[in-house]
Amino acid sequence: MRAVLVGLGAVGARSARQLLSSKSVSELVVLSRKPALVEGRVAALGATGVVRLEQLRPAAFAQALAGAGVVLLAAPGPGGELAAASVRASVPVVSVSDDPAEVRTLLELDGEARRRGVAVSAGAGMAPGLSCLLAAWAVTKMDEVTEVHVATLGTGGPACARRRHAALREVLDEWRDGAWARKVAGSGRELVWFPGYSGADCYRVNRPDSLLLTRAFPTLRAATARAAASRRDRFTSRLPMLRPPHPEGTVGAVRVEVRGRRAGEAEVVILGAAGRAALLAGTVAASAAVRAATGRLRPGAGGLASLVSSPGELLAELSERGVNILTFEGGGTPAAW
């Protein structure tokens, strides 16, 4: 099967490596806006004859689409047009974007994707992505889910860091008491204990977690998204980034707290994962792409919590690929968010 990968940044490179390690992928076409900059990365993949690098142009994309099994969008910037073209060609799409505007654009493809029987997986990175899978798995332990709270630490690559910088200053919609409430990013401080890391103060950010989770779990009363940020991050979020982000991203972690009821009792499940953020995101994206290509994601547009019928199976696969899934036990009932 041929996979088409758009973008070979920190997350794209990890996705490429994971795709090439899959038995389902026999050919990888990498489309980049600046191919000269990523030639070294393509060579480092070490899959001569299997990987083809081309400049991202409409004609090159259309050519790559013909006969492709899946398109993985891992480049910053609007991917809506590329996703729409893929759906029209009945090729499933997986996007790692955590930009709410882009995710909304992808969700608009739901009708067309269902008609053509293909999946459009919006937000298939660390958060949303792994966060949605963890929430979906926790929900299988409950009779009814009422709240999901996602917190993250770290960024995948420069594009993720720039997006997080913007997400800390924007106005956002948060799902509260069964309705959308307008909130300011950078507010709502919570001390969050991440796996493999000490506590970090987290604040509201404009990320599409709430949007994707409420579509997956209609009984939700609250869905929130927070990210760890320092005082400097918040103070300078309204300014241009003071220094360039790290090209390979940072160490990251995700923590998902799911609240609901089981056998009439209140139930809280806390799950997490830690590692290099780009690696977590790339592994999730590649695994989702292989599932989409092999028809193991539900048709339609949505987050992984909506499209994956067996979250435990996919989490086990991620665990095999080195993503350690953890649960927080014995801490009692945490305070309300």
């Binding site: 798995w137 799950l271 086990a316 036990e329």
Partner: protein, 63 residues
Amino acid sequence: MATEHRGAGRRANVTLLSRALLAVVMAGLVAVIVRLRGSGGTPPHRGGWRQLSETDLEPMDQA
């Protein structure tokens, strides 16, 4: 006499305005300090993270 009276009234207005301005600036500074300082809660006193094995993860779908 009337001119002196008007001058005193203007001085009182300016004083009131400058005090109001000072109060707004002080409130802003306090807001910035409150927003930037402090902590978002207390760390958990018990419990810890446990890694889930593949067998932990898989059967849950059938539960």
